[in-house]
Amino acid sequence: MITLTIDGREIQAPENAMLVDGAKYGDVEIPYFCYEPKLGAPVGACRMCLVEVEGIPKLQTACSTGVKDGMVVHTQTARVRDAQEGVVEFLLINHPLDCPVCDKGGECPLQDITFGWGAGTSRFIEPKRHFVKPLELSPLIAIDRERCIVCYRCVRFSQEISEDYQLVLLERGANSFVGTFDGHPYVAPFSGNIIELCPVGALTSRAYRFRARPWEVEGGGSICTLCPAQCNVEFTVRDERVLRVLARDHEDVDDGWLCDKGRFAYQAIHVDERIVEPMVREGGELRAVGWDRALETAASALAGAAGKAAGLAGGETTNEEGFLLGRLLREGLRSPHLDSRAGTPLPLALRQALAAPALAATVPDLEFAHAVLVLDCEPVDDAPILDLRLRKGVRRNGMRLAIATGRPSTLDSNAEHSVRIAPGAGGALLAALDAALGSGGDLGALAAAAGLAVDEVRTLATLLSEAGEDVVILWGERLTDGPGGAHAARALLNVARRLGLHGPQGAGLLGIPAGANGRGLAEVGVLPDAGPGLQAVETAGRPAAGIAAGLADGELSTLYLLHADPLRTHPDRTLWERALEQATVIAHESTMTETVRRYATVVFPAESYAEKEGTVTHPDGRLQRLRPAIGNPGQVRSEWRVLAELAERIGHGLGVLTGEMATGQVVEAVPFYARLTLEDIGGRGVRWQERVAASAMPEGAPGPFDLEPLPAAPAANGALRLGTFRSIWAAKEVEISPSLKFLAARQRAELSPTDAERLGVEHGEPVEVVHDGASVHAIAAVRANLPAGTVFLEEATATEPVNILTDGEQRLVQVRRP
């Protein structure tokens, strides 16, 4: 801390702070528009923060002047006031005074600063500048150029944060305006952040426009559970309706940004497609019934299926819901068949070793590490907000980025070294890295198995081993999903050991699960072979694929789907169709998914994430609290309450009467969550690794392992290897949110230019991807950086599902023109 004097008062402020921030330590407010530290270095464009610094003849911008010991600053002199009043006057001469009809009115920095620092009158009597207004900057954002004060925030966001480089300032001088090249719509994964950045009403949400005024709404803080990034959000609520989602800045989670899915998919909460009453299938049709009837039907189905019931939990399931589902099945029905993952199960000892607190990296580590390896995941799709964190690390902190993925990554251009591995060859790459780092394995053969040249692996190994001690490996669950998952996990643990990632604070592994609460569900025991706390269960149950097989051949009879939609997310759709056909399906779901429509026997309406109470666990181990922002619509009841009621009806009460009691049971059952309370978790969350109880995490099998040699990949013989990916937009919430619909994922086949030419397929043409009699229709997308020999299809699309081609094994497919 240093001492400076502002307006005659001595103030202690942290060194390196800019004056605007330092002044806050002395309760002095210096107004500004363009300054936003999250956007990088100050630009000093708005000139609102001019202050007098003794010893410097000209007024200085407080946003760009660092505090210094002994500095004497004046913010209230006539000279400063005149300059600040002047800037307000200049800003207002072309700003329309349409505050009464402006969305920003009431929460507008320009309004506030005009009130606080303006003259109150204007001397400007000439005609104002006029633009057509408002215009569609994109289907999501309206731009009103008359209101724009040219503060550059949105342009800087596009250029320096999301790095989509779409927004620019066009023309110059008083004619300057924000726009895009050639007027193209500004469509990008993070575009909505500019609405929140705008200090005036120039950029407004088209979904929120004219829906409410700031004094009519309330804010409810919670967590977005649409993806594993679990960004902290604030719901803007009016009359029990969510009208808007704002970022609730948490620098250890989201750094104050949101993706467009998180920002706009709230619309799915209030659509006609929402299921708001319990339903039971009668005569082939789903009919709305009372709760009693629905619960009774479900309870009797479950009671008759003791030992033969199974459960799947979808990614948005909270820890409490997953935990209670586990108790219902394991204790109430003596059925251990329970899973929250779609892929092949990972041996428990490896799962425990991967979750070791000493190996855990945090989200900020991605930014401050010496090097990060992005392995078998695409951050912008799998946990979007991490994409921005990685860009920030490279841009501001000199973090060295390496990418090893099958598909070209949007981060390739930020990376020092990018390699393209064969689909499913993440384990092979790790084994090759292990060899390059000195395991003594056959580097040549392993590199070939990963589809790489030896030099590419060596470069990667050198980068990671020489960057510094803080190295983070950001890996996607895809890595351990397939039959080679255990091998990949062992290889990952070996590489972590060789790079010394157990020790340093800023180093480690960060795994992105497929489901939003994938980590939490595993830790509370929604796994076939592990109970709460990742502890082995006496009788291991069937994993997801085994459940499908069991249902299909009659060994299991009843399936409880808690927010899960296997037809959409699980491999081997054909098997699942047979399984669902045979089973009694109890579905806890918020919208009419195909699974519900075709197969559900009983449907319980599910809460949306804005209605839920409970906890979720972030991929880096942070327990975060969901708090209801709105009441439940229609007949919707909390899932924990329904699960408790069902357990009661089958004669095994769970002792849960409130949501908080459910949380209490979870922390009691998971040793490394011990004694956590909802109050502890609060609005900022708690990483369990940072608590004493973390030592209760079982050690598992940390290795090192001798890796078994990998079989050579089968000869392609003109076929293409099939890879899959899940786009950020592949979500039911996107499909039913009116303003996001246009982004909904449609099946496309990504091909290399070489393969496209060989097949005579042009970009944008329809193609058919065929395997073993099944086919998927897709639009060809030719991507320059995709290696030849591979075709990528999208997972979880609403139509043309890729899971009719896959069953978890690597596939060779034919691509042809239909």
């Binding site: 630009v43 708005c46 000139r47 760009s64 001469i93 001397r123 040219v150 300032l169 001088g173």
Partner: protein, 447 residues
Amino acid sequence: MTALLFENIDEEGLNTLEVYERRGGYRSLPKALAMTRDEVLDTLVESGLRGRGGAGFSMGKKASFLPKTDMEKYLVCNADESEPGAFKDRELMQKNPHQLIEGIMIGAYAAGANRAFIFIRGEYDFQADILEAAVAEAYEAGYAGERILDSEHTITLVVHRGAGAYICGEETALLDGLEGKRGSPRLKPPFPANQGLYQGPTLINNVETLCNVPHIIRLGVEGFTKHGVEGSRGTKVVSVSGNVQRPGNYEVELGTPSRNIIYGLAGGPPEGREVKFWFPGGSSAPILTGDDLDLPYDFDSMAKAGSMLGSGSIIVIDDSNAVLDVALKVAKFYRHESCGKCTPCREGTNWTVKMLERIERGEATPMDLEIMAGVQERIIGNCLCVLGDSMAMPIGSMIKKFRDEFEAHIERARAEADGGPVPEPSALVGVAGAEPGPYPSTADAED
């Protein structure tokens, strides 16, 4: 009249290496290379050479601000001569490009830069061609490129053409332009000497400044400081334009009485006209009047008189012109060229033009003059770069020095617009548009 930079300037073929060498060119470069960097820097500091681009900062000091580290350093020659009234660099580059190249090489050597750029305004197409040809000759002869003159120093030189924006004459906007971005001024600090082109330490100098360097090395400190006066050493190429009989570039000793330049060299205003006011340093300098004609033409005297030497471009306005016409012309230029990045300049230039137009249309009251003067004051010193000041200072000085004329015009134009009786023009002031002088009225051409 002395001639340093303009020596042999009109000689046929001086733009070629052969003639330049024959006239004694490229002798200073080997001499400088034989000195240590610090010796060259000291020579430049002691010579008292001040920047000729407008700010008048000591060239040697600026060069010595560059950190003495191994970082890649740059020298950038600012040839984006766009100030209305300035055309000296054009002649220097067109007729004697090698003098500039030699200056750049010595400057780069002194600053420790291995890469040099000339950022020339896009409109100077003809001069850019000449420069490029000269640069090619210099490379060929070993004065530029790898291991110049068989020394261990490598200095590359690239001619970059701007895309036509006045703001790129501002040094940081120039750097943005050179990096391929939209040219907008950067926040200072960091100053280019620490973080300039591609974030590297960068020395930026005007064409004329660098053209002085070979002469300083040739003449030595003692020889060079014989020229000029205390505080303003050397000669100055002055562009004289406006209402004079012989407009053009004249090289004078700094400290020459202004009257000698305007009347002696440029011939003064046409018969029967008098100097009403003049811009001593391009259109961005506060105006001086006929009373100031006997001031010595040097940096400090101009500053003391409330104006500035700037780029050394004198624009003479005689009594056939109305001050309003000149003010409008100046304001429109700066409104057109404002980049729009900072508020006071973007909005202030636009507002000023609108107010002046209203005065012209007869829709203003004398109170508007107050407002306009206030607006200028709120621009000056409050902008990101000096472009806003470049309008506000001359306009402010015009209002101050010709308030009577503005007021008379306001009354007259209002009366005309109202259709009432038109007051007689005061004998003291010129009358806008009433009696066209021998030159096109400044208000005729639109921006």
